[in-house]
C-alpha cells in the first residue's frame, strides 16, 4: 500500500487530467469548486504541460437543431430567432451577412482562451420592436439601443459545437444548450 504522501502526489498528477475538459470549456470546474482555486501542484513537483486544445466529447455538443434553449430566455421571439440561426449554422449556411461565419477574436478575453479561428460569430436578427430588457436564466440584461441593419445581438460558436449568445454587443456571453 502506498504511503499517504505518495498518494497525494499521484492525485495531484491525475486530477488536472481528469478535469482538463472542464478547464478547456471555461467556467467553474469541479476542482475549483472543491478546492476554491484551480488544482495547481507546486513547480517543485512537476513542470506544468503546455496548454492544448482538448477535443470535445459528443455529449458536449450544443450546436444542433432544437426546440428549446437552456438557460431559459424569457422572450419567445428571440428564442425562435436563435433556434432558426442555430439550425442554419448546423446546415452550414448560407448566411445573410459577410461578417457571419468569420473568426471571432475574443479581444476582451470574455470567452475561454483558444487559438484564433476556434470561435466564429453570426448575426442574430430579432423581431422588430423586441424589448431592450431581457431575462436569461433569471438574470436581467440591459441591451444597448438598437441601431443599424445588423443590430447588436450575436451568436458565437466555439469549436463548431459550443454556442454562446451575446445579447449586449459582445459585452456579455451566455453559453446556451440547445434542447432537441
Amino acid at each position: 500500500m502506498k504511503k499517504p504522501a505518495a498518494l497525494l502526489f499521484t492525485l495531484s498528477l491525475l486530477l488536472p487530467m481528469v478535469f482538463a475538459p472542464a478547464f478547456a470549456a471555461g467556467g467553474n470546474s469541479a476542482v475549483e469548486q472543491l478546492l476554491g482555486h484551480p488544482a495547481a501542484p507546486s513547480a517543485a513537483e512537476f513542470q506544468a504541460p503546455e496548454p492544448v486544445l482538448i477535443p470535445l466529447k459528443p455529449s458536449a455538443r450544443d450546436l444542433q437543431p432544437g426546440n428549446s434553449i437552456l438557460p431559459v430566455i424569457e422572450d419567445r421571439g428571440r428564442v425562435e430567432a436563435i433556434l432558426e440561426l442555430v439550425a442554419l449554422i448546423s446546415r452550414g449556411g448560407p448566411f445573410p451577412f459577410k461578417e457571419d461565419h468569420k473568426p471571432f477574436k475574443n479581444r476582451e478575453g470574455l470567452l475561454p482562451a483558444q487559438p484564433l479561428g476556434f470561435y466564429k460569430e453570426y448575426t442574430l436578427l430579432v423581431p422588430k420592436n423586441s424589448s431592450r430588457e431581457l431575462v436569461i436564466g433569471g438574470v436581467l440584461y440591459h441591451l444597448p439601443p438598437s441601431y443599424g441593419v445588423r443590430g447588436c445581438e450575436r451568436l458565437v460558436v466555439g469549436g463548431g459545437e459550443i454556442v454562446y449568445y451575446s445579447p449586449t454587443h459582445y459585452k456579455d456571453f451566455i453559453r446556451l444548450t440547445i434542447v432537441p
Binding site: 461578417e99 475574443n106 479581444r107 476582451e108 444597448p144 439601443p145 441601431y147 441593419v149 459582445y170 459585452k171
Partner: protein, 133 residues
C-alpha cells in the same frame, strides 16, 4: 494633396501632423469623394469609453460600442447603414491627447483599426482611414 494620398498606406493611423493640410481641408477632400468623415477631438477622448461615445455622437447615435470587439464590429458594419460610400474616415484631431487617462488603450485601438480595415476591404471593398492631426 489628393484623396489617394490621404488614404494610401497600411499604417493603422496615418500621421498628418507637419503636412500642409488642415483637418477641415482633409474632411472636405474626403467628403467630396463620398467618404463618410467622423471628426473626433482627441482632447476629449481620455479613455476608450469616451472614444466610443465620441463615435456615437459623430454618427448621431446613442450607442456605438462597449468594448473593442464591439468597436471593430461597429466599424465594419458601417456599410450597411451608410450605403454607397467608398470609404470611412476617422479624423483624429489633437491626436497627441488621445487616451491621456488610459495610454494602454492605444495598442488595442490600433489593432482594432487594422482589423476593421481588413474586414471592410475584404467584405465590402471599401476603405477605412484614420488620420492624425
Amino acid at each position: 494633396m489628393d484623396i489617394a494620398e490621404l488614404t494610401a498606406g497600411n499604417a493603422p493611423v496615418k500621421d498628418m501632423r507637419g503636412l500642409s493640410i488642415s483637418p477641415a481641408a482633409a474632411a472636405g477632400l474626403l467628403g467630396s469623394a463620398g467618404w463618410l468623415v467622423l471628426r473626433l477631438d482627441c482632447s476629449s477622448i481620455r479613455d476608450r469609453g469616451e472614444l466610443f461615445s465620441a463615435c456615437a455622437a459623430a454618427l448621431g447615435r446613442e450607442y456605438f460600442a462597449a468594448n473593442w470587439d464591439g468597436f471593430v464590429d461597429a466599424l465594419r458594419s458601417l456599410p450597411y447603414d451608410q450605403e454607397g460610400r467608398p470609404g470611412y474616415a476617422l479624423l483624429l484631431e489633437r491626436y497627441e491627447a488621445l487616451f491621456s487617462s488610459d495610454p494602454a488603450a492605444l495598442p488595442a485601438f490600433l489593432e482594432s483599426l487594422s482589423d476593421a480595415r481588413e474586414s471592410l476591404a475584404g467584405g465590402h471593398g471599401v476603405g477605412l482611414a484614420a488620420l492624425a492631426f
